[in-house]
Symmetry: C2
Amino acid sequence: MAELPERAHALFDAPNHATVATIEPDGRPQSSVVWVRTDGDDVLFSTIKGRRKHANLTRDPRVSVLVFDPADPYTYAEVRGTAVITDDPAAELIEELALKYTGESFGTRPGEERVIVRVSPDRVVVYD
Amino acid sequence: MAELPERAHALFDAPNHATVATIEPDGRPQSSVVWVRTDGDDVLFSTIKGRRKHANLTRDPRVSVLVFDPADPYTYAEVRGTAVITDDPAAELIEELALKYTGESFGTRPGEERVIVRVSPDRVVVYD
């Protein structure tokens, strides 16, 4: 378990989009863009049951989350960690993240089974 | 071998920073930020011998390259492909990419052994 340094905290706490890399069943990497926030040293994002990253992380919880500020892309933080997935039946995290990133409510999307992915850092790399 | 759709071409050809995910020796994902350009359906980036992504791709060439426009992060392209690495003794690609991204010369950096990583897409996902 690693600490999230202040510089990484700042990058994740600002409304910067992050990329998440997971492992496919055949061992290849797979990437996608997510909204994120921190909780202590952990990084949280929301996804939907059935999405590829949900299936991948359910099988292999090892994950890399990278964030940079587009205004200064030469400083970035990468969290290599382990994901724990919990149900979010009220879709609370995606609502909170929608407010952070868009200033607007996410609204309700019937049929989506939201989950919270909590990434606890095993290692944090801040590239400066 | 997959084609690079026009929307993905446009995202890679603009000076958008991309993220590259590779596989660590123990099977975990690892991510970093790169400058990129296309060459036909391939995506090219530059790195240095000895960097982690160089070591990873030399061992396992399977790679994911993701790009989005920070002004519209809800459209993004992911290339899942296979990397071929060639030496770039004159550091031509990084010079070209520096001009694309910063408008300035990269200059010479003695001691850096530059390589070109050419990613041929096996699959392209455009998320819109």
